[in-house]
């Protein structure tokens, strides 16, 4: 399943920011810790993110995170 910015809308802004920073740092443990926190908000989203991270597809997640930081797209 493709990740969209709408799917990430359930997450608090702080968690999104931490996810963004963790992905850019490329630190595996830090990324895993943030992804783990997502499970409490949305287990399907957690699964999608876990699969992307397993394949190192950080660009897909960073891309979905982007519109939220620059304003809402309608």
């Amino acid at each position: 399943m493709a990740l969209t910015s709408e799917m990430l809308a359930v997450l608090p802004a702080d968690l999104c920011r931490e996810l963004h920073d963790a992905l850019e740092s490329l630190e595996g443990e830090r990324i895993a810790a943030v992804i783990q926190q997502v499970e409490a908000y949305d287990s399907a989203l957690h699964k999608t993110l876990s699969r992307l991270v397993e394949n190192f597809d950080y660009p897909a997640i960073l891309k979905a995170l982007q519109p939220k930081q620059t304003g809402n797209m309608t």
């Binding site: 850019e24 740092s25 490329l26 630190e27 595996g28 394949n55 190192f56 597809d57 950080y58 660009p59």
Partner: protein
């Protein structure tokens, strides 16, 4: 803080990147893995690794370009770069050395050879750092 060293592994193929990451982690290195040149460059500049293992053939920003940019930044200029690639034309190797690579590993590689090259270059860089520090302190001010 790890004593074995921090390595940045870069390869656009998830399976290759996973293999590289697993081999290095099993050996005790602290590994960060990047699926693209852009991600690698950003992470390397904000937190310089001790060594970079870099795939040459990648879309958008290829290994040569990543290496060139690492060598242009003061923070990452002295970080040794080893190219990991199936590309093995002599002219392409020479090009790699010209832009600052210290070594090449040919895909498919043997685990032990990869680790031996990594170890050697980490040691050489450590020696160079010690020497440079000594030389700077020996200069009259």
């Amino acid at each position: 803080m790890t004593d074995k060293g921090k390595i940045l592994a870069v390869d656009d193929t998830p399976a290759s990147l996973k293999l590289l990451t697993d081999i290095l982690k099993a050996e005790g290195y602290e590994v960060r893995s990047a699926i693209s040149g852009e991600l690698a460059l950003h992470a390397a500049i904000s937190n310089p690794p001790d060594l970079v293992l870099l795939d040459i053939r990648m879309p958008e920003m290829d290994g040569y370009e990543v290496c060139r940019r690492l060598k242009a930044q003061p923070a990452t200029r002295d970080v040794p770069v080893i190219f990991v690639s199936a590309v093995m034309e002599t002219s392409e190797k020479v090009k790699g050395f010209e832009i600052g690579a210290v070594d090449f590993v040919t895909k498919p590689y043997q685990r032990d050879e990869l680790l031996a090259r990594v170890r050697t270059h980490l040691e050489l860089t450590a020696c160079a750092t010690i020497w440079r520090t000594w030389w700077m302190s020996a200069q009259p001010s």
